[in-house]
């Protein structure tokens, strides 16, 4: 090959790199290993992990333990999907169709007509929603409740730095619901959007969505809503209570937790040119071809994104989370409308059983807020005299991972943990938690 190129040595091919700046020493890295030795060494390292299957975990807070049907892994292991990237529709029709189906089924869930290409995760699509609201309204302030997930808020603020201020609205201390009074005080002609989570980070359902939507729209602001998708088996879809932009986290739709690596942000909006033009990510539309009976797919307004507009684009985009979108499409078509409703009901039954068991213990206040909850709920340990971390250490010794310690995130709630119960938990698991908690707080 060097002969064909016309050089004596490979070094000649690197002529562009000035000698002066080249690395003169050897890299200090371990020596090469065989496949067998790599496997042994990596498996030995990974054996130091204790996975959620080996313990009973009640952690959620943005990454949740849900059952992943075997078909999901079968399809996302298909090497065509796994190793494809950026080909056009003629070579890659299948993945485009799967993306369109993902968009379609998310649209069914949230009751919106436009859904974009998948994105990194919940926090990043919340940031995009806020930026879209600024672009659409030409206003530079976002109002969101105090209960919003702190990491999400930090990501949102990072994405809006220099563009919009994100201001917090108070919550009712008893129910956790947005204080409509405080919202009315803070909303103004500067407000680009009122942005809520439903269910909230703290697990309860915000039930004043119609009222919030009305207040936002009366002031010329948008109403943007973040959702956990499985809850939409039983909760009203945001498209039916006035949302203009909807976003959320699709990890529950067939992705393993993967130490937080299974996240899948989704973003939906009104089918209105102003909104569509403000979406920063790829959008795929269905179309037809020259031959009858074939579906085709193509990008909508491609000049809108950073790929074409570079620094004139509304926000950055790029390599996304496509493999997880394909997986979510598989998951939703497996469950269908009835499976999804049934799953949401089962989750509520199990989480409410846990609430009931924990609330029977003296010393634990659960849930902190007197509202309807979906799969997560808060538990306050103030009167036990124990901190959440003390309780959690005790639980871990009994093979149970307790809820997330949110004492630092929400100091006003005291010693409080955020628990998550899903269809994965059996009655025996919850009973084990209750028994371990009983001992822990003594």
């Amino acid at each position: 090959m060097l002969k064909e190129i016309g050089v004596q040595s490979v070094e000649e091919l690197f002529v562009d790199i000035p000698q002066r700046i080249r690395l003169k020493k050897r890299l200090q890295l371990p020596p090469a290993k065989s496949e067998y030795h790599v496997r042994r060494e990596v498996e030995a390292i990974l054996s130091r992990n204790k996975a959620c299957g080996e313990l009973i975990s009640f952690l959620g807070a943005g990454c949740w333990p849900h059952y992943v049907p075997a078909v999901c892994d079968e399809i996302n292991s298909r090497s065509e999907f796994l190793t494809a990237y950026a080909g056009d529709v003629y070579a890659d029709l299948g993945r485009y169709q799967a993306f369109f189906e993902f968009q379609s089924m998310i649209g069914d869930l949230v009751a919106m007509d436009v859904v974009s290409f998948p994105w990194y995760g919940w926090g990043n699509v919340s940031g995009d929603s806020a930026r879209m609201a600024v672009m659409i309204t030409d206003r530079h302030e976002i109002l969101t409740p105090r209960t919003v997930g702190p990491d999400r808020l930090s990501i949102m603020r990072g994405q809006c730095e220099g563009l919009a201020d994100i201001k917090l609205v108070k919550n009712d201390p008893v129910t956790g619901q947005v204080s409509l009074e405080d919202l009315k005080n803070k909303i103004s002609s500067k407000t680009a959007a009122v942005h809520i989570e439903n269910p909230t980070y703290l697990g309860f359902v915000e039930s004043q969505c119609m009222e919030i939507s009305e207040i936002a729209h009366d002031h010329g602001a948008l109403f943007t809503v973040e959702v956990e998708p499985l809850s939409l088996g039983v909760l009203a879809p945001p498209g039916e209570y006035g949302a203009d932009i909807v976003c959320g986290e699709g990890q529950p739709l067939g992705m393993h937790m993967n130490f937080g690596g299974g996240l899948l942000g989704f973003l939906a909006c009104r089918d209105d040119e102003r909104f569509v033009s403000a979406v920063p990510h790829r959008l795929i539309t269905i179309t037809t071809t020259e031959r009858k009976g074939e579906w085709g797919f193509t990008y909508v307004l491609p000049e809108r994104t950073m790929f074409a507009a570079r620094d004139k684009a509304k926000s950055f985009t790029g390599t996304a989370t496509a493999l997880w979108a394909i997986t979510a499409a598989v998951y939703l078509s497996l469950l269908g409308p009835n499976g999804l409703r049934e799953l949401a009901e089962v989750i509520m039954q199990k989480s409410h059983y846990a609430i009931k068991r924990m609330s029977e213990m003296s010393g634990i206040k659960v849930p902190v807020f007197n509202s309807c909850h979906f799969e997560e709920f808060t538990a306050n340990f103030d009167t036990t005299g124990k901190t959440v971390s003390q309780v959690n250490r005790f639980l871990l010794n009994s093979g149970v991972i307790g809820g997330k310690d949110i004492t630092e995130e929400f100091p006003e709630l005291g010693n409080t943990a955020l628990y998550c119960v899903t269809e994965m938990h059996t009655k025996a698991d919850i009973d084990k938690l209750a028994a371990a908690l009983e001992e822990a707080i003594q």
Binding site: G6, F14, D16, I21, L23, L27, L29, A32, V38, V42, L46, R48, K50, A51, C52, C63, V71, I75, R78, E80, L82, T83, G87, A91, D92, G94, S104, M105, M112, D113, Y120, R152, E161, G162, M210, A236, P237, H256, F259, G260, G261, D271, T287, W295, T298, M306, A309, R310, F316, T319, A320, A322, L323, A329, S333, G336, R341, E342, Q349, N392
Partner: protein, 520 residues
């Protein structure tokens, strides 16, 4: 027209309906694990707690299918998709290297899949060790002081770097004055788009017609006390290394700015050049490019941000630390830009890349770069023999690094066949279509093949033969190219809905509404 005979290939073509069209009322593909009777009896009807106005009144219009229906549908769609494992796939700027199957196997272990990111650190020591050691290896490879593995793609890392540049100038009280980021047009679009998202004004430099990169003078005149930093890709997608880099860095530093180098094209530099040694303050690597993690049909990706000693305090939280005995997550970094995304990024990709580097070792990495560069230059010589193909900056840069950006301008002028036609036609030969160029097209009718080290000589020969065959068709029977594809999964699509609000439909529900004549 079908001409399978002339190319010897035909793609799978199932004419697969949309999943909603396969729906049959009452079918279900998965049974959910129901709650025990005793549990249900204890709590009663909990859904009645949902306030009426918040209750879903109609089930979502999801399709209803059995498990075999779903499997068959998505297996068919996978068959209509062309990955690295399917055949010749040299999409440029993407470093489509083969991903070893062991790494996939390891990644799908329950010891990875079932880890919750918020578990106590003592229960995830293995995962933290992988992250810690991998970022140390990246430091060794790049000459940077510390890495963050949080970004979920290259553009995310560039956004993170722009935020770090912002934080640095804010820390020094100069943010109000330093509002400009300088970039070069041949850099990846995120080097303009991501800093703009972070609130910077972007100044874009164009290459000199002879050298393929901007003149020192052009950079000097763009840099001032308003400059926050220089954010650029090196080497470029032209496969040309911008050898002014060291000088640029000096100029920007003297003006008080920072330099962030996009190392997405680093596959040709492994073990040969460390961007930290050249003086870059920040950089990023794409694990889904140089480090062999699979591209997943467009993600999830992972990009790693590297920072110099001076800037490491601004990296996103948390970072992984090691006290010689135990790995921890450090959130106590008061100068940090905070969170770029949730948790710690895409851990499975970090693990894959870690296993890949472990298999390669230092010498393997250097060898991978050499083989990739030999592959590219071999292909380059072959393609230059094809009628209608030219290579801008050939005289000044006869040898290229990881890839090269060619032009079909001559072919287009002489036959009317351009790169869009060739790209449809190449699929008829069983080859993945080619990267043309990021926007703007400063090279007319561009195409950018990138053959990484895992490409065989036979594949390079075949690719060049096919480009030659298509060129021949363009000169002798252009209609076959113009009307391509003929042997692909589908025929030419109607792109008009792309910009017609009444015709675009991003969901099946919107399609049904518009097809039934409803106003939008």
């Amino acid at each position: 027209m079908r001409d399978t005979e002339s190319t010897g290939y035909h793609a799978v073509s199932w004419k697969e309906p949309i999943v909603h069209q396969l729906s049959r009322k009452g079918r279900r593909g998965h049974q959910v694990p129901l709650a025990e009777n005793e549990l249900r009896a204890t709590i009663g009807d909990v859904t009645s707690n949902i306030p009426d106005k918040m209750r879903r009144k109609h089930p979502p219009e999801l399709p209803e299918l059995s498990e075999p229906d779903v499997v068959r549908h998505y297996i068919r769609l996978s068959q209509e998709t062309y990955g690295v494992d399917s055949g010749i796939h040299m999409h440029g700027t993407c470093t489509m290297k083969y991903s070893p199957k062991l790494n996939e196997y390891i990644t799908r272990s329950p010891k990875v899949a079932d880890l919750h990111p918020l578990q106590a650190v003592d229960t995830v020591q293995g995962a933290l060790q992988v992250m810690y050691e991998f970022q140390k290896w990246l430091c060794q490879l790049s000459g940077m002081a510390e890495f963050s593995l949080q970004p979920r793609g290259g553009a995310h890392a560039v956004f993170g770097n722009a935020r770090i540049i912002r934080a640095y100038h804010k820390f020094n009280g100069e943010l109000a004055q330093r509002k400009e980021i300088v970039t070069t047009v041949l850099s990846h679009p995120c080097n303009g788009g991501s800093p703009a998202t972070a609130g910077f004004e972007v100044v874009t430099l164009y290459p000199n017609e002879e050298t393929g990169y901007p003149d020192i003078e052009a950079l000097k005149s763009a840099v001032s006390s308003r400059t926050a930093g220089l954010m650029m890709t090196d080497p470029y997608d032209t496969g040309i290394f911008d050898s002014n880099l060291e000088e640029y860095i000096k100029i920007v530093h003297e003006a008080g700015g920072l330099v962030a180098i996009d190392q997405a094209n680093a596959n040709s530099l492994l073990g040969r050049l460390r961007i930290g040694d050249v003086g870059a303050d920040l950089c990023h690597f794409n694990l889904h490019k140089s480090f062999s993690t699979p591209h997943g049909s467009t993600g999830p990706g992972t990009a790693a941000i590297g920072a110099s000693e001076k800037l490491s305090k601004f990296l996103p939280i948390p970072t992984v630390t090691f006290d010689g005995n135990r790995y921890s997550l450090d959130y106590n970094r008061p100068h940090s830009i905070g969170k770029l995304g949730e948790f710690y990024g895409v851990f499975p990709n970090v693990l894959r890349a870690y296993a890949w580097m472990m298999a390669m070792g230092a010498e393997g990495l250097g060898e991978a770069s050499e083989v990739a560069v030999i592959n590219n230059n071999y292909l380059l010589r072959k393609l230059l023999k094809v009628r209608g193909v030219s290579l801008p900056w050939l005289e000044s840069h006869p040898f290229r690094l990881q890839e090269a950006r060619f032009s079909l301008q001559k072919l287009h002028e002489e036959t009317g066949i351009g790169v869009a036609d060739v790209n449809r036609r190449i699929v008829d030969y069983g080859i993945q279509d080619m990267e043309t160029s990021h926007e703007p097209w400063i090279i007319p009718e561009p195409f950018t093949p990138e053959p990484p080290e895992t490409t065989s000589k036979e594949d390079l020969d075949r690719f060049a033969e096919v480009i030659d065959a298509i060129s021949h068709e363009a000169y002798t029977s252009p209609e076959v190219v113009r009307t391509a594809p003929h042997n692909a999964t589908i025929s030419r699509i109607d792109r008009a809905p792309s910009r017609h609000p009444k015709r675009w439909a991003m969901t099946w529900r919107a399609y049904l509404r518009k097809a039934s004549g409803d106003k939008c």
